[in-house]
């Protein structure tokens, strides 16, 4: 059990008393608190009536804070924001994604682990949805809203603000939006930008290209592809906890799924690897991914360890 200071010291001032109250509160908050801790807590309460008062104040704050994050009346009530203030906080995810999976490593930095997703509300009213194993930094100034995508993929719903362009920077590629929905993803050898609503302007050091709703561009080997009409909806289906593959070469589907579970998956047959498959996989349950594949496709799966799975045609 955590170590609440046990020495018998009479609190010298209010600050000490409150500090001690905070220690007791924190101790009893956790499931690791024992009956013995609670009995000692009783003694502490009895030793000074002011102790109970300090504790009651913390109890009140704790109960009240269950209503956090406070969603204050925003200037534009139609904007669906999660939180008003400078910090960003996450509410969504519990239903869809099992855990509220995000780690705020330092101010403005967000990261998800393998198999996790997160929704982050930014101070300007925009939201970011992080896909599996993704990381971004948020850097807002008076003139520009800059997001750096370090790895993985993120989907942005940008709140309109004509005075401050919203720029997502991934390696050498900048994607600029004024108010729209789009995703930027870093793959092994390429960066992809998919637009779900309106348009964005994609710029590399060498060229600039406007990309419109329903289109995707790839940036690889310092070159931008032409915008291609793609099924942006299924491409972005990870936002609902599902990956949808439609006539996708099996090896590409496996590569996409590999990002959602730990361990390596290898397709052992060349013809199988190239065979187009259509399947919907629920990635919220990483442990079931293989089962889904095996049930839905003519394949056989051999897992040698949690870290290595070989896939054969059946």
């Amino acid at each position: 059990m955590q170590n609440v200071s046990q020495n018998e010291t009479c609190p010298t001032g209010e600050a000490d008393l409150f500090r001690r109250a905070a220690e007791w509160f924190a101790l009893l908050l956790d499931e690791s608190a024992t009956a013995n801790d609670r009995a000692e807590f009783r003694l502490w309460l009895e030793s000074n009536p002011a102790n109970a008062k300090a504790y009651a104040e913390l109890e009140r704050l704790w109960l009240g804070s269950s209503a956090l994050p406070e969603v204050a009346g925003s200037p534009s009530p139609t904007r669906r924001r999660v939180i008003k203030a400078g910090g960003a906080l996450l509410i969504a995810g519990a239903a869809g994604f099992g855990t509220l999976a995000y780690l705020r490593t330092s101010a403005g930095d967000y990261r998800t682990a393998v198999g996790e997703t997160a929704r982050i509300a930014l101070s300007d009213g925009s939201t970011v949805e992080l896909s599996t194993a993704s990381a971004i930094s948020v850097n807002f100034s008076e003139t520009r809203r800059l997001i750096q995508l370090h790895e993985g993929e993120a989907f942005f719903t940008v709140a309109a603000d004509t005075s401050r362009p919203f720029v997502v920077s991934a390696s050498k590629l900048d994607t600029t939006a004024l108010g729209t929905q789009f995703s930027v993803g870093i793959r092994d050898d390429a960066i992809s930008v998919a637009v779900a609503e309106h348009s964005v302007r994609v710029s590399s050091p060498f060229e600039v290209q406007d990309v419109f709703e329903g289109q995707t561009v790839l940036f690889a080997n310092n070159r931008l592809s032409r915008p291609a009409e793609t099924d942006v909806g299924s491409q972005l289906s990870w936002r609902d906890g599902k990956l949808v593959f439609i006539s996708t070469p099996f090896e590409d589907a496996v590569a996409a799924l590999a990002k959602w579970r730990r361990g390596k998956m290898i397709v052992m047959d060349k013809a199988l690897a190239r065979r187009p498959v259509s399947i919907i996989v629920d990635v919220r349950r990483a442990g079931k991914i293989l089962e889904t594949l095996e049930n839905g496709l003519p394949i056989r799966v051999d897992s040698y360890s949690p870290w290595l799975t070989l896939i054969y045609p059946r």
């Binding site: 955590q2 924190a26 009783r42 704050l61 804070s65 956090l68 924001r81 995810g93």
Partner: protein, 170 residues
């Protein structure tokens, strides 16, 4: 706005009811308490729909709220015998969950939000993972790569700072 949001709240609640019941029951292990806490979860939203206006994932918020109410209920139930008869702590032994609904007012809540944002990053993270995500110190430690004891230390800092911030400009 209120009446417009109500159908959505009711509909969402009906949709998550079964899951909500499971999440609460595994923590309180009592059907009657589960029913109470479910009702309380619903009333929180029903009576203060403004709170939900900006929430993107209503179902998720329902689940989080229900689970946190269950956790709080369990915590207080365990402490209750030890605070019995202590002046000022009667509310802890009061089993009616609705007692906490009016714990702090809206203005205080905003100040609490500001205070939370000003906490040292680790203390803030620990507080949020505990309060909002309902994680134990061991689980938080695992996520942040620190020991449960260090998590405890950050929690003390968070609670103490929040309390100070709330007090200063009263």
């Amino acid at each position: 706005m209120d009446s417009a949001e109500h159908p959505e709240i009711l509909q969402t609640y009906m949709g998550v009811r079964a899951r909500l019941a499971r999440v609460i029951y595994v923590r309180v292990r009592c059907s009657a308490t589960t029913a109470d806490l479910m009702q309380d979860t619903f009333l929180r939203f029903w009576e203060k729909p403004g709170r939900l206006r900006d929430v993107v994932d209503l179902a998720g918020y329902f689940m989080v709220t229900g689970r946190n109410l269950a956790l709080d209920h369990e915590r207080r139930r365990k402490i209750a015998p030890f605070v019995d008869g202590i002046e000022g702590l009667e509310s802890i032994s009061d089993p009616t969950p609705t007692a906490e609904m009016s714990a702090i007012d809206r203005q205080e809540l905003r100040r609490l939000q500001v205070a939370l944002e000003q906490l040292p990053p680790r203390a803030q993270q620990v507080f949020m993972l505990s309060r909002l995500d309902g994680l134990t110190y061991a689980e938080i430690g695992e996520r942040l790569g620190i020991s449960p004891k260090t998590v405890f230390g950050h929690m003390v800092v968070a609670l103490d700072r929040l309390r100070q911030e709330m007090k200063t400009d009263i």
